[in-house]
């Protein structure tokens, strides 16, 4: 998995895609243990990646926004900032 900001953000998006696929499958196959194991595995990975991203750069959701010196969620860049030049 990548290290710099863009790569890490992209990787989080890819793992999120995997979780969405597994969620859709599990919605119709609620007793498929194999799929549940895959889901648990990638869910933990996504949380670790989000935590890492939040510590290195900024929180991606308010659940990751624990702050002390400044309100990190509010100080985070907005998704569209710096994009339309």
């Amino acid at each position: 998995m990548g290290s710099n900001k863009e790569q890490l953000l992209r990787d989080i998006g890819i793992v999120d895609f995997v979780l969405t696929e597994l969620t859709l499958y599990l919605d119709t196959h609620p007793f498929d243990r194999n799929a549940m194991e895959y889901f648990n595995h990638y869910n933990r990975i996504k949380h670790q990646m989000e935590k890492e991203f939040s510590m290195k750069y900024f929180p991606l959701n308010t659940g990751m926004a624990e702050s002390n010196k400044e309100w990190r969620w509010g100080m985070a860049p907005l998704p569209w900032e710096g994009v339309c030049g």
Binding site: I14, E21, L22
Partner: protein
């Protein structure tokens, strides 16, 4: 969510109805980047359109 075996219940299936076999999932793609670009993590759902018919 049982899949009624089509083979030996053929007479019980009324005509003019669509039937979709139940997805059986075993292993997902290892390469997540490729799965993301393919658009699915399920090999059994990876059906690229080849211009005339699906593979």
């Amino acid at each position: 969510m049982q899949d009624y075996l089509y083979e030996n219940n053929i007479d019980k299936f009324p005509v003019a109805m669509a039937y979709v076999p139940w997805q059986k999932f075993d292993k997902m793609f290892d390469d997540l980047e490729k799965a993301y670009c393919t658009g699915t993590i399920f090999p059994e759902l990876d059906k690229p359109f080849t211009g005339r018919r699906c593979v």
